[in-house]
Amino acid sequence: MNFESAFLNVLYFSAVIYALAFILYGIRAIKGPTTADIILAVDCLSFDMAAFMVVLGIYFKSIMLASGAIILALWAFMLDLYYTKYVLYGEVEV
């Protein structure tokens, strides 16, 4: 079993579905009625983009691409916490 060609097939199917999902999340992020909807859509978008970056890092054989996924996931969490603190307390304590 040739792992490289088999993984290319897996990447081919999953990339199409991921791209479709990214477009749908982007539509909700653009037209969300309140700010919380935009934050929620961007949150999902960045988590899924982190997952897709790990898969792409295997395909391109680079560690540097995959290690950016850690930063992206932590950034999405920071966005949630800052929005919560701003709404509930009116300030962002560092």
């Binding site: 088999a6 749908l24 949150d43 999902c44 997952a51 790990v54 290690s67 919560t84």
Partner: protein, 151 residues
Amino acid sequence: MIEEVIFIIGSIAILLGAIYDLIAAIGMLRFPDFYMRSHAATVGTIGGAALPVFGAGLVALVYHPLGSQRFFMAGIAFTVGVLILLIAPTGSHSLVSAVYFGRIGRKPPLAVDQLEEDLPKRSDVAELVREQERLPKEEEEPKFSFRRVRR
């Protein structure tokens, strides 16, 4: 033999995660209000991000074209997976609590809302604050604060 089994399990996890992600995106676009959308978002983060990351870690363990870098890649993938498992429920919970207690947007029509009944009324809170408030004296300078007094 065992490498092929691990590779097939990882590939199935990646494909299943992509399908979860598409379902969550459709739900995010079609659900009518914020609380239902947060339900779709939790499906999209755990099923659509944590599952394919663990699958990619399993694939990277046996993917020989990476050379000896494949163990680094698997370690990064498992680290990202554990981080997402810890971070995504916490972030969703804090966001929904901010929307509920900050009264952002319009609430959906609910049959019963017991959390609303337990919360103190806004007029009661204002009266309590007025009772406990200590007026600053003349020579005392008011402290500078970023905190908003009233929303």
